[in-house]
């Protein structure tokens, strides 16, 4: 395959990649990937990023007094005239 043809094949494959990935299809045996180390490397990188993302940003706990602030704001809203939701801050 010429270099131009290879690039075109990569373009076509990568243009379809969002849909292929989203479909859940097992791409390991995709014909283009079998013969294209560049696209294999791309896919491996995307896998690495997706895997690393799961370790990111552990679920955080809001401070306990946030509920007190919300309660206080709700009481103000309920005491306010109809149609005036207050600042909401």
């Amino acid at each position: 395959m010429t270099q131009d043809a290879q690039i075109m094949a990569c373009e076509q494959f990568q243009a379809r990649l969002p849909e292929l990935i989203g479909s859940g299809e097992n791409l390991a045996s995709h014909p283009h990937l079998l013969g294209c180390p560049l696209c294999r490397a791309l896919l491996a990188d995307l896998e690495t990023i997706a895997e690393a993302a799961r370790q990111l940003f552990p679920v955080a706990e809001p401070p306990d007094d946030l509920w007190l602030q919300i309660e206080s704001a709700l009481q103000k809203e309920e005491a306010a005239p109809e149609g005036d939701p207050g600042s909401g801050a």
Binding site: Q14, L43, T48, A50, L56, L66
Partner: protein, 227 residues
């Protein structure tokens, strides 16, 4: 390989367990609810809709961590994340009478949080401000594709701080989809419902976000080498 790592999405929304945060309630008087079923959550919502303050406290306790975490991941600032969490639950209190159960409650609540986040980003003057704008495909904003580059692949492990920095530097729309899908684990149909966009658009935006991250992460060693 991609099958397992990148995560297939089911064709239909799969509501996450409704008792998604089985954590002790922070309001002292609240007992831990058994909200692990849709029926239990539906009953809780009904109680809130009829003005039961204790039920609202339970609802807060069930969802506070996910909402706070989403806000924190999006704005990267504790004080702002607290404000956004508060605003989200105030909006929830104002609007819960309109919730009819047509979508999952979690999706609906996340949509409220996302709206609050996008409004906050608008105040900051960021260019990607509204839901529509955030989701608008931008032909100039995609990351470069990988044609003819042989030496710049990631090594299989990513520095966590570098990735967090790269995520933070993403445009807001990309960051939102990446966080919802790859960090929080929502599926494309759920995210599409939250953001009021097509599933195809959602997949495309996620892909662009990952490509941008890849570009950013591959440039890290080069930047460090130049120092």
């Amino acid at each position: 390989m991609a099958h397992s790592q990148l995560g297939p999405d089911s064709p239909e929304p799969s509501p996450r367990p409704l008792g998604e945060e089985a954590v002790p309630a922070s309001p002292a008087a609240v007992t831990s609810p058994d909200a692990s079923t849709e029926a239990a959550l539906a009953e809780l919502i009904q109680r809130v809709q009829s003005g039961d303050h204790q039920a609202f406290a339970q609802l807060y306790s069930l969802h506070k961590r996910r909402i706070y975490s989403l806000c924190l991941r999006m704005v990267g600032n504790v004080a702002e994340a607290e404000d956004l969490t508060q605003e989200t639950f105030l909006q929830l209190h104002r609007k819960i009478s309109t919730f009819r159960g047509d979508s999952s409650f979690s999706t609906w609540l996340h949509r409220l949080a996302i709206n609050a986040v996008l409004m906050q980003l608008r105040k900051r003057g960021l260019s990607l401000i509204s839901m529509d704008e955030a989701m608008e495909p931008d032909p100039d904003s995609g990351a470069s594709r990988s044609f003819g580059e042989r030496d710049l692949t990631l090594t299989g492990s990513i520095d966590r701080l570098a990735l967090e920095r790269a995520v933070h530097d993403l445009p807001a729309g990309y960051r939102l989809i990446f966080i919802l899908h790859d960090v929080e684990g929502y599926e494309h149909p759920e995210i599409a419902a939250m953001l009021d966009c097509s599933v195809g658009n959602c997949k495309s935006q996620l892909h662009k976000a990952r490509l941008r991250l890849r570009d950013a992460l591959r440039s890290v060693p080069q930047q460090e080498a130049r120092r």
